[in-house]
């Protein structure tokens, strides 16, 4: 670690210690709704301070609400926040704003668009959703049917989106729409941004097997998107969305589960608790032990790879080709962890509700079900393998894209 970075760490640590409300220490994500009186005010204070500091989106330029930090510096910031048991709530509050929309806006947006959209997003005040998938299209994004008609100053949208994450609580939406129906499938598509709070937009939450409803069906009935909110060139939306999805893959390469709390127990400790140990301290269930250590080795090799690729990509703007590997690997590790935890907890790992199951047990079940989605949204295993096979290994394209 360089001296400059160590100096930055000292600064960051001082700032965090001064500004982080201790009442929030150890509180996980998704807690916002459960906060009461004082804690809620502290939460709002913490968000505002982070936003003001530019640490909601620390690597964005200062003029657009960021702090202009390098990636290693941003990592230091998040480490220092973790150190005091805190979390940065802004990425979650912004929906798809920090991880996907923002970085794409920085590359494709006009100065006006950046100025209008980025600062409030970086403060966690504007939540974004994305209208990409449509019913019956699956992974085949380009076959979309939502129409955008040119009405002079604005586009008039008609059609249906599905799997729009958080659409029911978002302020803005980035949508892929067909602007030239006569062009071939990948042409004639544009990427527009539109406010969700308008008459022509309706959302309907989808209940998932985990019981949660993080996604919606979203209906556009004569919805309005201003021409000034067209991102990228007209009919070049495919380039925009490809970049957007690269940012998504990048944000999904960490092997932790999205619902994992800040300080969850190591899985091997959970295993020892439920399955017991033999005289030598080894897990009593030898078959489970082998699979557990295999999982832990997979997880370790994944995080070592993230570190290696980050180090190798130092200073490069382009997303490394290996990011495609990390997506599948992260998904497999996260899903295996859930399956193993369920197995470890045995009959207690099946709790849905009620006092007879611990919060940890019930959480394991929900996480397990929720985690099945990781391999579906953002490109299936198969799509990633096609990408690796073709783009990285240079194998000839097959007639089979599925």
């Amino acid at each position: 670690m360089s001296d400059a970075l160590e100096a930055f760490r000292a600064e960051a640590r001082a700032w965090v210690e001064e500004n982080f409300p201790p009442s929030l220490a150890g509180k996980g994500m998704g807690m916002e709704g459960e906060l009461d009186g004082d804690t809620k005010a502290d939460f709002e204070l913490w968000r505002a301070r982070l936003g003001e500091k530019g640490w909601g989106a620390p690597t964005w330029p200062q003029e657009y609400g960021g702090a202009g930090l390098s990636h290693p510096q941003a990592k230091v910031v998040s480490e220092e926040i973790s150190r005091v048991g805190g979390l940065n709530p802004i990425p979650a509050l912004a929906g798809m704003g920090i991880t996907m929309v923002g970085p794409t806006l920085l590359e494709y947006g006009t100065d006006d668009q950046k100025a209008r959209h980025l600062p409030a997003t970086a403060r966690g005040e504007v939540r974004w959703c994305l209208g990409l998938s449509e019913p019956n299209a699956g992974s085949d994004l380009a076959s979309l049917a939502t129409k955008a008609e040119d009405k002079g100053d604005y586009f008039q949208l008609n059609g249906q989106k599905i799997w729009t994450s958080g659409a029911d609580i978002s302020h803005w939406c980035g949508a892929l729409v067909r602007t030239d129906p006569s062009a071939p499938k990948h042409k004639g598509i544009s990427f527009v941004m539109l406010p969700m709070d308008q008459e022509g937009v309706e959302t309907r939450p989808i209940r998932l097997i985990s019981g949660a409803s993080p996604f919606c069906e979203t209906f556009f009935n004569d919805a309005r998107a201003e021409k000034s909110d067209l991102l990228g060139d007209l009919n070049d939306g495919w380039s925009v969305v490809k970049r957007l999805l690269q940012h998504e893959r990048q944000s999904q390469t960490s092997a932790g589960s999205p619902m994992a709390s800040a300080k969850s127990k190591a899985i091997q400790d959970v295993a020892k608790e439920y399955a017991g140990t033999d005289d030598s301290g080894a897990l009593a269930d030898g078959d489970l032990r082998s699979r557990l250590v295999n999982h832990l080795m997979d997880a370790r090799s994944h995080s070592l790879t993230v570190r290696r690729i980050t180090a190798e990509a130092k200073g490069q703007v382009k997303v490394s080709a290996a990011a495609s590997i990390l997506k599948n690997s992260a998904t497999r590790i996260s899903q295996t962890k859930s399956e193993l935890t369920l197995e470890i907890m045995g009959a207690q790992g099946l709790g849905w509700e009620g006092a007879e199951f611990t919060a940890e047990e019930k959480n394991t079940v929900r996480e397990w079900l929720w985690g099945k989605a990781i391999s579906i949204y953002g490109g299936s295993f198969e799509v990633q393998k096609n990408i690796i096979s073709k783009n990285i290994l240079g194998l000839p394209e097959t007639t089979q894209k599925g």
Partner: protein
């Protein structure tokens, strides 16, 4: 044939849609009384019971045929817990008087039996804390049994406890003094309960055999469960195959993508291999074969592995729609995982199989 009858009845009278309605309505015992009455009427409660006690004595392989069809529709009822597991305990460990007293009631559905063995989250039939102390001419039982299948609807528990001769089985009426039960809400919405026993007094005729009987009953329970799990998995396979043939992407049905076609081929192979294990276990029980224990562990493990993989592929291949509660895939995934730990998961049975083979 009983297979056709079971298939027709399950798909028409008790399909997965009925299970969903029952779930959404929050039925307390987790099954519809009418469903249970139909099963009794069709004589399924008597499949294992000798004719002298009002049954048809058709054997475990036949019972497996029925359970497979019920598994396909996730049909909820106490049939398995009472007429297979409970009846097996009475048949293997009961005196003539006990058989006379219990089996006709199992057949007519007025008695619902269930086996209570485990006390924690994992299956450990060799050790338990529940004690049955000799008390006059009977026993006094104290302990807690966890995750008892159909524990809320059962009229009597067959409780494994440390008795005067080591581990034994004891019949405890659900309404005996000192018995209390707590309903559980589990992911698969099947009926389970924790059962507490505090100084429960039962007579000397409550004793239903010792550790060897428990082990034999458990093997029958595993063989039966193997059949049900095979049904759950087979239905998941059929749903997946159907989807592969009808769902289009990039302008063609997705089953024509080689990677998915090969995966379907792998799953089909696993299914055929698992079926052989499931049927062999049931036939071994019927024949009283020497390798019954091995085959029952084999069945629970191999069908378990297949069901685990198949239920994950069901979700994975269906993509987004598989994640929605509206679609049935989630119900199968949940049931699949809930059946895994019951009477020992795959790791348990791999370990047991190795021990049986001497290594």
């Amino acid at each position: 044939m009983i297979r056709d009858q079971a298939q027709a009845w399950a798909t028409e009278q008790a399909p997965v849609a009925a299970f969903r309605r029952m779930r959404d309505a929050g039925v307390a015992n987790r099954f519809e009384p009418a469903t249970w009455e139909s099963m009794v009427e069709m004589g399924w409660t008597g499949i294992l019971v000798p004719e002298t006690y009002g049954g048809s004595d058709l054997g475990y392989l036949t019972f497996g045929v029925v359970l497979e069809q019920l598994g396909r529709q996730l049909t909820a009822s106490p049939l398995y817990a009472s007429a297979l597991v409970g009846a097996s305990a009475v048949l293997l460990g009961g005196s003539d008087a006990q058989k006379e007293a219990l089996l006709p009631k199992v057949v007519d559905g007025s008695e619902i039996l269930t086996l209570a063995v485990d006390e924690g989250p994992r299956h450990t039939p060799g050790t338990m804390a529940t004690a049955a102390e000799a008390d006059g001419d009977g026993y006094r039982i104290t302990g807690r049994k966890a995750q008892v299948l159909e524990g809320m609807s059962a009229t009597a528990f067959i409780v494994a406890a440390n008795g005067p001769n080591g581990i034994g089985l004891f019949l405890v009426p659900a309404d005996a003094s000192g018995v209390s039960r707590t309903a559980l809400s589990t992911v698969d919405n099947r009926g389970y309960a924790h059962v507490d026993l505090v100084d429960v007094r039962v007579g000397g005729d409550a004793h239903l055999g010792d550790a060897d009987v428990l082990e034999a009953v458990l093997d029958r329970a595993r063989a039966g469960l193997g059949a049900e799990m095979l049904g759950v998995a087979s239905q998941a396979f059929d749903m997946t195959l159907d989807y592969l043939k009808t769902r289009e992407q990039f302008g063609r049905v997705i089953g024509s993508f080689q990677a998915l076609g090969h995966r379907a081929a792998d799953l089909y192979s696993q299914m055929e291999l698992a079926r052989s294990c499931a049927e062999a276990a049931l036939m071994a029980v019927d024949a009283g074969a020497e390798d019954t224990a091995e085959l029952c562990s084999l069945s629970k493990a191999k069908v378990g592995d297949f069901l685990h993989e198949m239920s994950n592929q069901l979700i994975q291949i269906h993509g987004g729609i598989g994640m929605t509660d509206e679609f049935d895939a989630g119900l199968y995934l949940k049931r699949a995982r809930a059946l895994e730990p019951l009477w020992g998961n795959q790791a348990f049975h791999r370990d047991r199989y190795a021990r049986l083979l001497g290594f």
